[in-house]
């Protein structure tokens, strides 16, 4: 179908308006709030951010958490996707349904369920007690937060990895085998490099979603698990320091964009390595 430029614009208009009104405008508002005080332009909130040890600590904790959850999701998700890519398309459809099943249940409920499982009197500790072991303090720690987040984000990572694996021409693996590569060598030299685009996509989506997580750290984490979304919430609801909340949100946005930039740079360099190929 060939459309004229005005027709394309007209079709895009509702979506553009929506994004502009409910996304770009508020973001601009938040950004400006972070440099606007009662007396006009001010850098006070920004000074507050760099002066606040808590804010910097929480920001760092947020990124560490996001990185570790992403790493765990990839470590669990890649093999799962690899398994699924080897199934018949029928079986794969069923497994995909199973993987998407948790999405039918609200994140809140799933998170509360972890309290039941991991709590002091929870299933895990009762099981440990039954075999005479000491109970474990899992709930209200970083471990619980990571478990809860991995459970929520894993399907996204699996499906992203799977998509790139299904794009790989299976004859390439056959070609590698017949040309002398063992199963493992064919995987390492051909399949793995070609599936990295899915790893990158899944990883970056997972990472960005982690940065904005709120419910899971709030419910499963302890005092030391506060991440930036929780801190922003405290500024908005309890201390009513909106300027500081805005500057925190802006800091998150800027550092996320910085991460994306670094990621792009890295992947481009990787593509460069690939282009140089053997002999480099």
């Amino acid at each position: 179908m060939n459309l004229t430029r005005p027709a394309i614009l007209l079709l895009l208009l509702p979506a553009l308006l929506l994004v502009g009104l409910v996304f770009l405008l508020p973001i601009a508002g938040v950004l400006s709030l972070s440099v606007h005080g009662e007396a006009g332009f001010t850098l006070e909130p920004l000074r507050e951010l760099f002066g606040s040890k808590v804010a910097l600590l929480v920001l760092e904790r947020t990124f560490t958490l996001a990185l570790s959850v992403t790493a765990i999701c990839l470590a669990l998700g890649y093999p799962a996707a690899l398994f699924m890519s080897g199934l018949s398309s029928r079986a794969r459809a069923w497994v995909t349904y199973l993987i998407l099943l948790p999405f039918w249940i609200s994140i809140l409920i799933r998170t509360y369920t972890w309290i039941v499982i991991l709590g002091r009197e929870g299933i895990v500790n009762r099981g440990l007690a039954a075999v005479g072991a000491e109970p474990l303090q899992i709930l209200y720690t970083d471990v619980a937060v990571r478990i809860g987040m991995v459970q929520i984000l894993l399907p996204i990572v699996i499906l992203a990895c799977l998509a790139s694996m299904l794009d790989i021409d299976r004859d390439l693996v056959k070609a590698a085998r017949v040309l002398g590569a063992s199963r493992w060598a064919a995987f390492r030299k051909v399949f793995l490099p070609l599936s990295l685009s899915g790893v990158a996509t899944g990883g970056i989506i997972c990472f960005i979603l982690c940065l904005g997580f709120y419910v899971t750290p709030a419910l499963l984490g302890g005092r030391r698990s506060t991440i930036i979304a929780n801190l922003i919430d405290i500024q908005v609801h309890r201390t009513l320091n909106w300027g500081f909340a805005a500057v925190l949100a802006s800091a998150l946005l800027v550092s996320t964009l910085a991460c994306l930039g670094i990621f792009r740079l890295l992947t481009r360099r990787r593509a460069g390595f690939a282009a140089a190929g053997f002999g480099k």
Partner: protein
Amino acid sequence: MTAKGASIEFREVRKTYGDFVALERFTMSVAQGEFMTLLGPSGSGKTTALNSLAGFVDADSGDILIDGVSITRMPTEKRNIGMVFQNYSLFPHRDVLGNVAFPLEMRGVAKAEIVRRSMKALEMVRLDGLAKRMPHELSGGQKQRVAFARAVVFEPRVLLMDEPLGALDLKLREAMQLEIKQYQREIGCTVIYVTHDQGEALTLSDRLAVMEKGAIRQLGAPEELYDRPNSRFVAEFIGSNNILAVEGAAGDDTLVSGLGAVRLSGGARTQRGFVAIRPEHVRRSAAAGWPATVRQAVFFGDSFRYLVEAEAGAEISFVEPRRAGAAAAAPGETIRIEFDEGGLIHLPE
């Protein structure tokens, strides 16, 4: 490259997928350095035969030997077989040199030696100038040559080619056929070539096997299969043929449906089967022969192709080279046709 070809033997290889029989008692011997083609329609089992030799499919029963040694229990990577795939299957993340170097890397060859031998293979296919290109920057013919260089760089004694020219256009295909044949002579390896293109099979092969439903229908040199097809299937698959049913015998003559009494090639006498007549074995004649009405006359530049209907109803097509001063027959015109001596082949089935 001094590698000489290995001999290959399939012994009663059978392979089924559920109810579908892909190979049925498939037996074939290929001599050292021979260019053998498996020719057949899709689903005839030719690719299954190739894949069982490469180790991509496990045969249900039977044995496959290379130089007299059974390889059915040997993993694919140990079989030391070169292979060219239909869609090239170049590794998209490696450049041309990286692709050609791959088999040598897998064999633990020293780095300098890898580069030297890879470049030599690329020189053979005249692509040494493009060593740093990525596969997506190559044309179809160039990809094909890289795939070929990659398949022979480690001097395998057996080279498998699965419809390697299928994705190329006609002109390039014809050029590549000649190249492939030339490279094979240089390298001396045994080739098993799979195709459904009978023209390609006739041009390239030392011998070819026509396959149908998982079994070989006829195996022989190209001229042999062209001149003496043993069945209607082979006669229709290789070249074009007029095929008429045999109705009975009358003395030394054979009665053919839609035509009448004819004398078969080699004096064959039969009551059943079919008769095949190549279009180039039919001629227009001035006085003698069968009267026939021209239905179609198609101009082919150097020749005319006619479709005529004999008095008794048989439709026969034939080719007439153009000669100066000779007028073409027009549709509707009645002409007389006769057949070359030995041009009427009996097909038992």
